[in-house]
Symmetry: C2
Subunit: 216 residues, 2 copies
């Protein structure tokens, strides 16, 4: 089937299903009913059945879901069986943390290089790959078929670098900079705004301290 008809709301829940199914696999659980999955995920069983029905025929009455099969199929839908080359721009603490982030490889994301404009970092090795300077980024992207750029740098530089990446034909940006990026419609941007997450925490903490009950 085409995934054209799957709603964005379902798509947003898929990574969470994938994570839970992965945990079940690690624990050698081969099949699970929607009721059990419901308890673990704190989502209603009917929501789970409805979501997974989108992908057709994964569940069987009286048997439940085949964990491995469902995990594999969701992985395919999420594009995790394909390999994508990525680079990181910004070799500060966060950039280095992400360069060492093992979940990348497990999901088919292949770390090709890390760039910075600070000459002090020129040639310093991260995961056995020396930090490169920004002058080399254009040729590097082309020669290494880089599809994804991860931006871990201050917001003003992020806006500039995003333009360079777009000019080089990059397809997607994972943006950790504290700003939105203005890129053409066919370039994918996935934002991780840590500061906004921290503010949500702050807001809930304030309400809790003010005596409101916190609802997850």
């Amino acid at each position: 089937m085409s995934d054209r008809e799957i709603s964005q709301a379902v798509i947003r829940r898929l990574p969470r299903y994938y994570r839970y199914l992965g945990e079940l696999l690690e624990n050698n659980i081969e099949r699970i009913s929607s009721n059990e999955l419901s308890k673990r995920m704190q989502v209603t069983a009917s929501q789970i059945r409805q979501d997974l029905n989108n992908f057709g025929g994964f569940g069987q009455q009286g048997y439940g879901y085949n964990v491995k099969y469902l995990y594999t199929e969701i992985g395919k839908i999420l594009g995790l069986e394909e390999n994508h080359n990525f680079i990181i721009v910004g070799a500060g603490n966060l950039g280095q943390a992400l360069a060492n982030y093992s979940a990348f490889e497990a999901r088919g994301f292949v770390f090709k290089g890390i760039f910075d404009n600070n000459p002090i970092l020129d040639g310093v090795s991260i995961r056995n790959i020396p930090v490169m300077m920004m002058d080399d980024i254009k040729s590097f992207i082309k020669e290494n078929e880089v599809e994804i750029g991860v931006l871990t740098l201050p917001k003003d530089s992020a806006i500039e670098v995003a333009k360079v990446l777009v000019d080089c034909g990059i397809k997607a940006i994972w943006n950790f900079a504290h700003t939105d990026l203005d890129v053409p419609g066919d370039v994918i941007v996935e934002n991780v705004h840590l500061s906004e997450s921290l503010m949500r925490l702050s807001y809930n903490l304030k309400r809790s301290n003010d005596g409101y009950h916190y609802h997850k």
Copy 2:
């Protein structure tokens, strides 16, 4: 007014308003109309008016919004004028990156200490604060009035450490571990699941490569 009546949807947008207003302030812009703000934020002007009306009387016909005033008021609603002590558990790359994350202090979050269970890190300094071992965490939380724990460690350890933090009376957890945490209802959990963000990127990249047009 009480913020009891403000919907969760508005609350989720507040950090974004706060970020944009902060950018305007940095650029010395004193007032802005809902139309201008709308263009910058890619939210409809009527949505902006409706959201900000929740806080009563910030906008004036023919004048627009007073940027500084609105920024300050939203900051108060988000609890950013208060100070909160936090610790980080997990002194790996991500933990170290967050320890050095300057946005924390700007938002009233005060870094008190960082913990790990790897003896190699015992006493290693991060931001002039030596890494402490887990044995000391209980007494440290009590003596330093720590309200928030940041978890940057593998998921199995995260689940264990979350229990310890809850026993010590911690109020909120900023969770970077690749798992959900099962904590009592009055403990706030804000999750940053990087892996799920990466999967959303992967999904959109796959669709784009398959020839679907990407809609932000």
